[in-house]
Amino acid sequence: MNGFTIRVSGVTKVYGTEATRVVAVAGASAAFEAGQVTAVMGPSGSGKTTLLSILGMILRPSEGRVEVLGRDVTDLDERALPALRRRSIGFIFQAFNLFRALTAVENVLLPLQLKGIPRREAMERSRAALDRVGLAARAGFLPRDLSGGEKQRVSIARAVAAETPIVLADEPTGNLDSMTGTAVTGLLSSLARERGSTVVIVTHDTRLQESVDRVLWMEDGRLRE
């Protein structure tokens, strides 16, 4: 074990007003280790994505504490969050979230550009990441010319190239057939093994529990091992 990179303690997220109150996450506590792939599983509407957003510092919890790379980020100033996200977290989305006007390699390049990495080095890293996911030949393609599986691999390459210690994936196989889904999960596992990254996958695809290191279950906002 390489130690915890993210820890949440008693995290609760409430949406709406007193009259329309919805508890999306109720007192969740967990710690995520480096080099480990954790799947958070549960049915739709169980609060998985909200938990992922809190882990990724996109949402703030209503209660509880969040620690990222040993730093309590719960009350961190809003202006400090983007820099911390750039350094520490890579996202993989169910809908891929590729920039439609950018080619595959430019999509991968983007987080490196945001980090201020010189263009030549960023381009080399982006091409290497695309090569790593088997898409070197598709580097100049726009997302509209890629299949669903290829788009997801570009999305993974974007996280790989950024070399962040934490990768958060939201239903990464949700829009893929089972064979492509298995390949994508394999890529995420190897990312954790080779880079020592913490990978957290949120999914309702129970087939994934075979290929991850740890499974957490979520139901009605409550998290359990």
Partner: protein, 377 residues
């Protein structure tokens, strides 16, 4: 943090139809502003062209006279007071009078007669196309501006016409003295002008003073104002501006051009804001993703602003190109259009400011993006 420059450019060129609509809107706005301002400046130039081309530093007019074309007469002996106060300065009388010229084809046409001293040439034509200025001294000679041919028919040196039942002879053709009143302009000798307009007997409309070399014009004006207590005394610039202001503020010209220019700005702003807003809404998830990847708010807004500025710059460039074509047709039609460099600079700034202002609505939308938007499938 490095600025994600390429997103703005790539987004802009990715949707070419939207880009084309945006550019057409901005170009239309730029052309409207450039052409309307150019025509306005051309008209204002015409209103004051005789003043600016006359070699006189001081213009003395009847009291409360506000412009060149409708100036009222005052007794010509008042010139003597001006002469007494002017010292070494040169003093001349100048008549501007409306009269009627009989047309060859029948009927008459209102004309503006400018009566000047042909011995000094002060107040006379400044750009002769044919003939000699001093010939106005003989046979009731008149010099006709080329722009008058549209109303008077083509005239040649030696042609005869009638003004107030008196025969005049065309002795010259000049250029550049077109009036905003659209009345044909004829230059003649001061005495001939008085003869052709009997109500001007022993009257003048202006007394012009040309300061001696090195003389302080302000001091000369102050001296003249003291003795010309029944008239107004202007410097050349003051009278030119007074004339321009009269036509701008006391006629519908200022409001008309101002409204058209405002429409141009508004049309540009509406089209740009609409297209940038719809583009922003369409890319909202991408902006959310950009934030998730670690872009701070200024960088995201920067993408939107950059799109707006690039649209503005390209639309403006296209607008300038179209403007030159439109101006060519205006000039072919005989309309003077003046477009100094500062007009292009001001229009560029206005276009960019409009685009940035229009994009602020989109920035507001991007600010309100739901963070969870990025997770929606």
């Amino acid at each position: 943090m490095s600025y994600p420059v390429s997103i703005a450019r790539k987004n802009l060129f990715h949707d070419r139809v939207r880009l084309a609509i945006t550019l057409v809107g901005i170009s239309f706005s730029a052309v409207l502003i450039l052409v309307q301002m150019g025509v306005y400046l051309g008209m204002m130039y015409n209103t004051a062209s005789i003043i600016t081309h006359t070699d006189a530093d001081i213009w003395i007019t009847a009291r409360n006279n506000r412009n060149f074309d409708f100036s009222l007469p005052f007794p010509e002996h008042r010139e003597n007071r001006a002469k007494a106060a002017s010292g070494e300065a040169e003093v001349e009388k100048l008549i501007l009078a409306w009269s009627l010229m009989k047309l060859d084809a029948g009927g008459s046409e209102n004309v503006e007669l400018v009566g000047f001293n042909p011995d000094t040439g002060i107040g006379g034509p400044w750009d002769m196309a044919a003939g000699r200025i001093e010939d106005v001294k003989y046979h009731r000679g008149v010099i006709v501006d080329e722009s008058s041919f549209a109303k008077l028919g083509r005239l040649e040196i030696g042609d005869f016409r009638e003004i107030m039942n008196k025969r005049v002879r065309v002795v010259g053709i000049c250029r550049g003295a077109r009036r905003i009143t659209t009345a044909p302009i004829l230059f003649t000798a001061f005495k001939t002008a008085q003869e052709l307009t009997p109500w001007m007997a022993r009257q003048t409309v202006f007394v012009l003073v040309k300061a001696a070399p090195g003389e302080d014009v302000r001091a000369l004006k102050a001296r003249l104002q003291k003795v010309m207590d029944q008239e107004d005394v202007y410097t050349k610039d003051e009278f030119a501006w007074a004339t321009k202001w009269y036509w701008t503020l006391h006629t519908g010209i200022g409001v008309g051009f101002g409204f058209t220019i405002l429409m141009g700005v508004l049309v540009g702003a509406v089209i740009v804001s609409q297209t940038i807003y719809s583009a922003t809404v369409e890319h909202l998830k991408e902006f959310g993703t950009l934030k998730a990847l670690g872009a701070d708010n200024p960088s995201v807004y920067g993408v939107i602003l950059k799109q707006a500025l690039m649209s503005g710059a390209m639309g403006y460039a296209a607008g300038v190109a179209v403007n030159f074509v439109v101006v060519h047709f205006y000039q072919q039609a005989g309309q003077m259009v003046i477009q100094p460099w500062w007009l292009f600079a001001a229009d560029l700034v206005l276009t960019l400011v409009t685009c940035v202002a229009a994009s602020l609505i989109s920035v507001r939308k991007a600010m309100q993006v739901d963070p969870m938007e990025v997770f929606r499938a």
